[in-house]
């Protein structure tokens, strides 16, 4: 396998759109030819060599090509877009759309990735050592074809809307995920080894979600079906199985209705559906009220002024609406 080394030497002023950085585009090219390929910067077009130094040469085919990218690539988008074979290794972080519509091969990002990475992926392997932001393995805006195959492994955390419209493949997240996991999913397998915030599997009609930590709040449209032994990571484990989303259509196969399933380790404690809000109402004591009254005597303060004062003096974060009512009551 031939290796191409790209090193970012000039940090781009804007975001660099580098959909040409794939083994497919590099295959059969010398370092000089690779440097001639275009990148976009806003509405201007530049060359790869304007930003990167290129060393080595590509293999005859994409499968024979490995690309190693180093330097501060935080603002480089679309690395490995639509790649079908070969390998990419990124030493640092990347921006949005890394591994988007990837069909084969392997991408390994050693830092963090931004949003929309691995969207519409149909095959291959995408590994992130750090964290991923929102819409990991989801669909493009408006599209109903999210991740359809392949494997995504994120060792850190993932953001919100992970695996929206997922139809196949596997996503394995080592840490926690934010809200809206597997929305609209119709297949595929998601494993979250940490906790999942609320709204897991909303409008999911098919597919499996494993949350090995806790689901902060289960959707009310999921029903606890019971406990079941399921194989995960090569060993059988006992899980609570929740089925849903009950508000959606569900196909039938061999007389049995197919549901989306959420698996939670048995004995992880009772997960209740839609627990009531546990936030305490923030209130000022009479003494504090007097103090506020004194501070704004003969003035007509804005909501923001009073809110800031309360926060600074009493360390209480009140909602603007509450503050507004408070001012009204003080006037009276």
């Amino acid at each position: 396998m031939d290796i191409v080394k790209l090193t970012l030497v000039k940090e781009p002023e804007l975001y660099l759109e580098a959909e040409n950085i794939t083994p497919d585009h590099f295959a059969g090219k010398t370092a000089q030819q690779i440097g001639e390929l275009h990148v976009h910067l806003g509405n201007t077009t530049a060359k790869i060599s304007d930003y990167f130094t290129v060393e080595g040469k590509a293999g005859a085919t994409a499968a024979d090509t490995k690309i190693i990218i180093s330097g501060p690539t935080d603002k480089v988008k679309y690395i490995g877009m639509k790649m079908t074979a070969g390998e990419i290794e990124v030493q640092g972080n990347t921006d949005m759309y890394t591994a988007a519509w990837m069909a084969g091969g392997k991408i390994h990002v050693k830092g963090n990735v931004d949003s929309f990475c691995g969207i519409g992926m149909t095959g291959g392997e995408f590994i992130v050592d750090g964290n991923a932001k929102n819409y990991l393995g989801a669909s493009y805006r408006g599209d109903w074809r999210g991740m359809m195959g392949g494997k995504i492994i994120v060792k850190g955390n993932a953001g919100s809307d992970t695996a929206t419209f997922m139809n196949g493949g596997t996503i394995d997240i080592g840490g926690n995920v934010d809200v809206h996991l597997g929305t609209h999913a119709e297949g595929g397998k998601i494993i979250v080894r940490g906790n999942a915030k609320g709204r897991v599997g909303g409008q999911m009609v098919k597919g499996d979600i494993f949350v090995l930590g806790q689901v902060e709040r289960m959707m009310p449209s999921y029903i606890l079906k019971g406990e079941e032994e399921v194989e995960l990571d090569g060993k059988k484990q006992l899980f609570q199985v929740w089925i849903g989303d009950m508000g959606e259509r569900h196909a039938k196969r061999k007389g049995e209705i197919i549901y989306g399933k959420i698996y939670i380790p048995a004995g992880a404690g009772a997960v209740q559906a839609a627990a009531p809000r546990a936030e305490r109402k923030k209130k000022l004591t009479d003494k504090q009220l007097e103090q506020v009254k004194e501070a704004f005597k003969n003035q007509s303060p804005t909501v923001q002024q009073v809110r800031t004062y309360i926060y600074d003096t009493f360390d209480i974060d009140m909602k603007p609406m509450q503050v507004s009512r408070l001012i009204d009551s003080l006037k009276r």
Binding site: Y140, R141, G142, D143, W144
Partner: protein, 566 residues
């Protein structure tokens, strides 16, 4: 204005009866001329095809539902954008292109006139705003009448004069071109969660049947002598076994004689007939009814049709047939937009993937082509895709290829995953007719122009007509590979719009001087209708009457066709 002479091309022109003879076409002052001075610019068309500009009779290219399609399908635009060019603005989109791309792509294929097929009167201003933004091609729009409360009430009471006065008022108010009927009665019934699937299903509350609506509007249309006939999308679209409903609708027009001063010979135009020619009881027994429909058309000369060919692409369906779109979304589970347009119509949008590996889609593909090949009169059979419902209009060259080359059709047919089942359910495998270049000129130029009542200005190359001329780099007698047909029709060598060169070697070189066509039909003053309009606006409409009219500044370059319907 500049003069041009297009020399030595093979000319195909049904208007003057030239069938591929080598001759010259002269352009002077925006019109076709007998001769030009020696200062005229010479275009050498040796070995090339010369035709009049093509006329699109039915496409959804402007207005609220097209725009909502653009709005809710960002994925349709993905990777399709073209940056600003020398003479073009930024454009993009595939099944629902931007207005600019619509204009450019039509022009590049040699189209010079396009009709927007369904204009909800309430949103007519939006339609005209988009028409204004669509460069090059002349456009008109058909307001929908088939589910209109005024029409229902007047027809129920048999007040034909009032129907005519209302049609006249609405055409003038919305700057519309013709009487469009979409799922007569059914779109209104959708407001009650119902539909009219036969011509005898009464509309809830109004108690009027689709047959009565069609008959009434047809009578009014002929009484007024409008340039175009009624333009109808029948009931029960897209369901297996619906060819019977189609025949029932067509029978309403049987024997009726046309009345107009525009040379139009039909009294009914049946649109996207492919969607209405299905046999079978379910999707499992789904088969082609194209033969029955085509036979009926061949016998009855007072009707025209357009095909609505499926192109096997991913596209966006959009129609004023609200109940159908709901039916469709429950079949494919993709996103659905739906709206009720007050007293006038309803509408829906659903994306759809015509997958060649799915039997039903492949059969639909066959039916469209079968209709085109089984219909004997190309002057009454027009090529469309009901853009974007059966496929985007940019696929027309591909349909021409399939119609003109038996080999390309049979190759497709054999390549389907369910090939045997598809061949068994259709007649396409046994049809070896190949449409000639002259017939294609009839199906895409002369025919639609005549059906629209525009054959005196568009669709031909007789002196005095508008100089809409197209040169394709194609020689009918030397085609070796069917792909050449598709390639040549995708990007014309030259296109002239009203004497201005707008396309040169497949590239847009001018944005032309586009016009909006509308019909001003004069009827006797009718106080009753004036009062009814005011009352309905006071009682029901969410809008003030003064904000309803498409005022002149929405139509900066009108081409008004005046009709004396007194």
């Amino acid at each position: 204005m500049s003069e041009y002479i297009i020399k030595n091309g093979k000319v195909y022109d049904p208007k003057t009866g030239i069938k591929g003879e080598v001759s010259d076409v002269c352009i002077k002052d925006g019109k076709i001329a007998d001769k030009v001075s020696n200062k005229a610019k010479v275009i050498d068309a040796k070995g090339k095809t010369v035709m009049a500009g093509a006329v699109e009779i039915h496409a959804h290219v402007a207005g609220p539902k097209v725009n909502e399609g653009r709005n809710y399908r960002p994925e349709d635009k993905l990777f399709t954008y073209q940056p600003t060019g020398k003479n073009t603005r930024m454009s993009g989109g595939f099944s629902i292109p931007t207005t600019f791309k619509t204009g450019y792509e039509y022009a590049r294929m040699g189209f010079t006139t396009v009709m927007e097929a369904a204009m909800p009167p309430l949103y007519a201003r939006h339609v005209h705003e988009e028409i204004k933004d669509t460069p090059i091609v002349d456009e008109g729009a058909f307001p929908v009448f088939g589910n209109n409360w005024f029409v229902f009430e007047y027809l129920k009471n048999n007040e034909m004069d009032n129907v005519c006065a209302y049609i006249s008022w609405l055409l003038k108010t919305t700057k519309g071109y013709a009487v469009k009927i979409v799922n007569p009665g059914g779109s209104e019934a959708w407001g009650w969660g119902e539909n009219c699937t036969t011509v005898n299903d009464p509309v809830p509350y109004f108690d009027i049947t689709p047959a009565e609506i069609v008959k009434g509007l047809l009578t009014a249309n002929e009484k007024m002598g409008l340039p175009h006939s009624i333009h109808i999308h029948q009931n029960n679209l897209g369901n297996p076994g619906n060819y019977e409903t189609t025949l029932d609708t067509l029978k309403i027009a049987e024997g009726v004689k046309p009345n107009n001063k525009f040379g139009r010979e039909q009294v009914l135009h049946s649109t996207h007939v492919q969607f209405h020619s299905y046999k079978g009881d379910s999707w499992a027994t789904f088969e082609s009814g194209a033969k029955e429909i085509a036979d009926y058309f061949n016998k009855n000369k007072n009707m025209t049709m357009d095909l609505g060919c499926v192109t096997l692409d991913e596209t966006t369906t959009m129609t004023a047939d609200g109940p159908f779109e709901h039916h469709l979304t429950s079949l494919n589970h993709l996103k659905w937009a739906n709206v009720d347009v007050e007293l006038e119509t309803s509408s829906g949008i659903v994306p759809y993937v015509y997958d060649p590996n799915i039997k039903v889609c492949a059969i639909q593909w066959c039916i469209g082509l079968e209709l085109g090949l089984l219909a004997k009169d190309p002057m009454r059979t027009f090529v469309t895709t009901d853009h974007p419902n059966a496929g985007p209009f940019t696929r027309y060259p591909r349909i021409y290829k399939w119609l003109m080359s038996n080999k390309s059709r049979q190759d497709m047919l054999k390549g389907f995953k369910n090939s045997d089942k598809v061949i068994a359910a259709t007649n396409l495998a046994s049809i070896d007719r190949e449409i000639t270049m002259f017939e294609l000129a009839q199906m895409t130029r002369a025919g639609p122009a005549k059906a629209l009542g525009l054959y005196n200005i568009f669709g031909g190359l007789a002196p005095g007509m508008d100089a809409d001329v197209v040169v394709y780099d194609l020689d009918e007698d030397k085609v070796k590979n069917p792909e050449e047909i598709e390639k040549a029709f995708s990007a014309a060598d030259y296109v002239f719009k009203s004497g201005t060169m707008v396309v040169e070697h497949g590239e847009v070189v001018s944005n032309g001087n586009k016009r909006t066509l509308w019909v001003d039909a004069k009827v006797p003053e009718n106080k009753q209708v004036e009062r009814d309009v005011q009352m309905k606006f006071l009682k029901f409409y969410s809008m003030n009457l003064a904000n309803y009219e498409v005022s002149n500044h929405y139509v900066p370059n009108p081409y008004v066709i005046e009709v004396d319907s007194n």
